[in-house]
């Protein structure tokens, strides 16, 4: 069976690419610290030596639209082209092409349907910055095949937070039951408190630092039950109008498991939003003796 080599949860900040590649007067003052944190984060994936990446993200009204909106969707295709005109325009993101891992995608679809997740699928999916940002930060050589998993955190009505956790738990079991000798990393990106297009946007910090503090604690300690007790579709409006992206972090907590402390935790307080990076090694930290 396949091995779950690493579970990684991250914010996806579309400005990282531009901040990290800019020079001279264009380089923002926080870029060097940000790059240093990203390079440490990247090492947590590299040392897991993955062969395949399951990438959990959310289309931002690029290919998926309100006339035909899936709640959860698996991409099954030999290739995935990436990034869209408006992401090049606003964020300077490059166009990319990633290989797909169709055998794992087919397994997730079949097994997921049989576990009562009515997953949609796409055989021609152009992926956006929710997936390419973590490729850029964690695997910039973009050399590994992926299985994209899109969630709807964006266009209400949305699935309940507990459903994201349940899907995360199922993804873990499905990856670990994939008949393969491959090492799989599951990488998902979301947001902490975030406001887009509302009065609280682009402040000195994220719109709700107290929510961010609690969220980081829930994720870092694997406190799924504590998180589910406080977070609802209604409550997520309070920290910022785009904070439903936090449910992708909840999905990743489901992959990592109840009570599982993250092996790597880092944050960076930026204007507009807080960055947060987490890595779990389900089978022990690579290169160290198993802890249990």
């Amino acid at each position: 069976m396949a091995e779950l080599a690493a579970v990684i949860a991250s914010t996806h900040h579309p400005f990282y690419y531009r901040a990290s590649t800019s020079t001279g007067a264009d380089r923002p003052p926080f870029a060097d610290e940000w790059v240093a944190k990203i390079e440490r984060f990247r090492e947590t994936l590299t040392r897991a030596e993955p062969d395949v990446l399951v990438m959990v993200g959310s289309d931002h009204f690029h290919q998926l639209w309100l006339d035909n909106m899936p709640q959860f969707l698996v991409g099954k295709a030999p290739f995935f082209d990436a990034n869209f005109y408006n992401e090049e325009r606003e964020f300077g993101l490059p166009r990319m092409t990633l290989r797909g891992e169709e055998d794992l995608a087919a397994h997730l679809l079949r097994d997921g349907l049989d576990r009562d997740f009515d997953l949609a699928f796409s055989n021609e999916l152009r992926i956006d910055h929710s997936i390419t940002c973590p490729i850029i930060t964690l695997r910039p050589q973009a050399d590994l095949p992926i299985v994209p998993v899109y969630t709807n955190i964006f266009a209400p009505p949305l699935p309940q937070p507990r459903r994201f956790v349940q899907l995360g738990r199922a993804i873990r079991e499905m990856v670990e039951s994939w008949e393969s000798d491959k090492r799989v990393a599951v990488i998902g990106t979301g947001h902490l408190s975030l406001e887009l297009g509302g009065p609280r946007q682009f402040g000195e910090h994220g719109p709700d630092p107290e929510f961010d503090r609690k969220a980081v604690e829930w994720i870092a300690s694997g406190d799924i039950e504590g998180c589910l007790a406080e977070v609802s579709l209604d409550s997520l409006h309070q920290p910022g109008n785009a904070t439903h992206g936090f449910m992708d972090f909840m999905l990743m907590m489901g992959v990592a498991g109840e009570g599982r402390k993250a092996d790597h935790v880092d944050t960076l307080d930026l204007f507009h939003t807080m960055e947060a990076y987490f890595t779990w090694y389900p089978n022990g930290v690579p290169g160290e003796a198993a802890s249990a």
Partner: protein, 119 residues
Amino acid sequence: MSRYLLDKFLYTVDRDPELVERYREDPAGTVEWWEAEMANRILNCTSDERSTWLEFTEDERRALREHDHVTLFQMGAHPFLTLTLFIAMFERDHGPLEYQKAYGKAMEHITLPYPDITT
């Protein structure tokens, strides 16, 4: 009121570089043309297989014609779509982050709960 149609306008304009410029330079003409030609186009169907029932209210037309992002927000247009398109049109006229901050400042009188964006 059709939040869906407002969103469809913002979405189809934002993804097309030519339409972004056209809406910036001629908002009234673009809104009129779009409602006549595009509002009933189903994006994943051929051009003959159109819808027959989608139209703006006069208030929606006015908000779009006047580039009035505050009213669009209050009508429940998807804030991500509005923000992305308006940054594309107007950030160029301002210093770094100046437009984004002014955009938020123009809405500072709006308090929770925000208008529903469900379509």
